[in-house]
């Protein structure tokens, strides 16, 4: 078609091909130092193996748990700690099995989880959109961040007396304390997330003729998603801690309440069984959230530890 064009195809075509086939999805030598770690971390996250060592992750995780039990058993057997205050693990496991078979105890677990879930939903329903707005508008960002940093340093337990007066000792009290505590990390991460939008990406969007709405939907929100996910992940653990603290401090339902009751009844074996159950709950929530994050915002994992 073009007078000077014809033969160029062949030569330059050959020039590119070997490179094209040479570079596979896993480049042996990254083209730039900048993208090297990017690519490799992306693949580590992608394969999900996380395999630095020869053993799969669950074996190593299991080894940690077993080690803890062995140490615990040794400490009790050697009499370092009196069995009256810390029961041996075997006894505790028996109590744990009893508790798990007990419908009323499981009801209490559900109470805890309910408070956890409701507080998470409330905090994220308000925190994420508000954070996006505060982060997006430069005029709001600075005044808001000063306020947010002040408010979030007040521990939610400081509000305990007020909250008990307002809501009594039921679900509302737990939910409000927990929602307050997790609102801040959720809000802050959403605020930062919006600002993570890459200026060059926005420029590329504008070059494709996109207006404000499309830039927002197609670039700003997906860019903010990994940070929002981080905020939610942190919040999930915090919410559980706050709900349990509220239960230990006087709420009338939930796992924490059960533990307090057994403590007053001088039954440390049940107390520790309850604590173990809480630990397992926390672990399940953590892994669940991590998995969800990896499935929903894989690009966040890909970029983590890269150029930021």
């Amino acid at each position: 078609m073009r007078a000077r064009g014809g033969p160029v195809d062949d030569t330059s075509g050959k020039g590119t091909r070997p490179v094209a086939t040479g570079e596979r999805t896993r480049p042996q030598a990254p083209d730039t130092p900048g993208t090297g770690p990017d690519t490799s971390s992306g693949q580590a996250a992608g394969t999900g193996g996380r395999g630095r060592g020869p053993l799969p992750a669950w074996v190593l995780g299991g080894a940690g748990v077993v080690t803890m039990f062995v140490c615990w058993d040794l400490v009790v057997r050697l009499g370092v700690i009196s069995p009256d205050s810390v029961p041996p693990p075997a006894d505790t496991m028996v109590r744990l099995a009893e508790l798990l078979a007990d419908a009323s105890f499981l009801g209490q677990v559900l109470q805890t989880l309910l408070a956890w879930l409701v507080s998470m939903l409330l905090a994220s329903a308000v925190g994420v959109p508000l954070g996006l707005v505060l982060g997006y508008f430069a005029t709001l960002y600075r005044p808001a961040s000063a306020l947010v940093h002040a408010a979030r340093s007040i521990p939610s337990s400081a509000f305990l007396p007020i909250v008990i007066l307002l809501f009594g000792l039921g679900l509302q009290m737990k939910v409000s304390l927990s929602a307050y505590a997790v609102f801040w990390p959720i809000l802050l991460n959403a605020m930062y997330g919006v600002r993570d939008a890459e200026p060059l990406m926005l420029t590329a969007g504008r070059a494709m003729g996109w207006g404000r709405g499309r830039l927002l939907a197609r670039i700003v929100l997906p860019s903010a998603a990994p940070a929002i996910a981080t905020g939610l992940r942190v919040a999930c653990s915090t919410a559980l801690i706050v709900v349990l603290s509220a239960e230990l401090l006087g709420a009338t339902s939930g796992v924490g309440t059960v533990i307090t009751t057994y403590q007053e009844a001088q039954r440390p074996d049940y107390v520790y069984a309850g604590i173990l159950i809480i630990g397992v709950l926390g672990m399940l929530i953590y892994y669940g959230v991590n998995l969800a994050e990896r499935l929903l915002v894989p690009w966040g994992h890909a970029q983590r530890g890269a150029d930021r």
Partner: protein, 300 residues
């Protein structure tokens, strides 16, 4: 819709540039063909605390359909600023831009831009295929058509096999080829490339240069190529526009009458290549020396 089909104007090898001072009317009929892009007196300044800072001043040049024009200049001279202006991404402080005979006010449908920093201009949450399809999404093009265009663009850059991967799973050179494919998918009349190969290694760079030459020859698209690399500019172009240190002005507009097809080794052994290279080099170095107080242009 593309300049590539049918009525595309073929230039003679070694044509002369349109004289900078000659045409003032947009889409003027001076020269052998109407310029696809006419840059007249383009000036851009940025506000700063100590008053406005001039990045580019009174830039004049024209690009004819199907031409391959490079813009070179010392680093920090405002090349990127100029490119952003020409792409319709920055408002001008002065002067006019004419694209296909009509004044240009914002990003144009017939123009695609490839940026230097591919890792930040591709969308990590989309697959390679969807990244390339992005600019087609709002153009009311039927789905099968989009698919075939995307496939074609990826084949052109040799990445047909990577359609389902994400950009972060690719090497730097491959990512830049995805960015090029994204530019090609819209079948642009003009492709603006802003230092596209500045962050890849030497071999990848050479192969990408040849890839761009091949695409240019096959599609007949006009290419405006911004670079700080003098060899690259001479090797690729029909014409090299040399900018001075910021605030930059056009110091020369040099026709490159090297035979095509070009070859990484043979072309660079031609004495004319060396002469042109030296000429451009001296112009760039002279402009760098002349202004000891470097104007704060755009980023590098």
């Amino acid at each position: 819709m593309t300049g590539g089909d049918g009525g595309h104007v073929l230039e003679q090898k070694g044509h002369r540039l349109v004289e900078v001072s000659m045409t003032k009317d947009p889409g003027g009929t001076t020269g052998s063909a109407t310029p696809i892009l006419d840059v007249r007196g383009v000036t851009k300044s940025y506000p700063s605390r100590r008053g406005d800072v001039l990045a580019v001043r009174g830039i004049d040049f024209a690009v004819r359909p199907g031409e391959f024009v490079s813009v070179v200049g010392p680093s920090g001279c405002g090349k990127t600023t100029l490119m952003m202006c020409v792409a319709g991404l920055l408002p001008l402080s002065g002067g006019t831009l004419t694209f296909r005979g009509s004044p240009m006010t914002g990003p144009q449908d017939g123009v695609a831009v490839v940026f230097q920093d591919y890792s930040r201009s591709l969308f990590p949450w989309l697959t390679v295929e969807k990244n390339v399809a992005l600019p087609l999404r709002d153009r009311k093009i039927p789905r099968p058509e989009i698919r075939s265009r995307v496939g074609q663009a990826l084949e052109t850059v040799g990445l047909g096999h990577a359609a389902g991967l994400h950009p972060w799973q690719l090497s730097g050179g491959m990512q830049q080829r995805v960015a090029i494919a994204r530019g090609l998918a819209v079948r642009p009349e003009m492709l603006i490339m802003d230092e596209p190969f500045a962050s890849v290694d030497a071999q990848t760079r050479a192969s990408l240069e040849d890839l761009v030459l091949r695409i240019w020859a096959e599609t007949g698209t006009t290419v405006l190529f911004v670079t700080h690399d003098i060899d690259e500019a001479v090797y690729l172009s029909d014409r090299v526009v040399v900018l001075s240190q910021g605030p930059s002005v056009v110091v020369a507009d040099i026709p490159v009458e090297l035979p095509r097809p070009r070859d990484q080794i043979e072309t660079k052994q031609i004495p004319l290549f060396g002469a042109l290279r030296a000429q451009v080099f001296n112009l760039v170095m002279a402009s760098e020396r002349r202004t000891s107080l470097s104007g704060p242009g755009a980023r590098d």
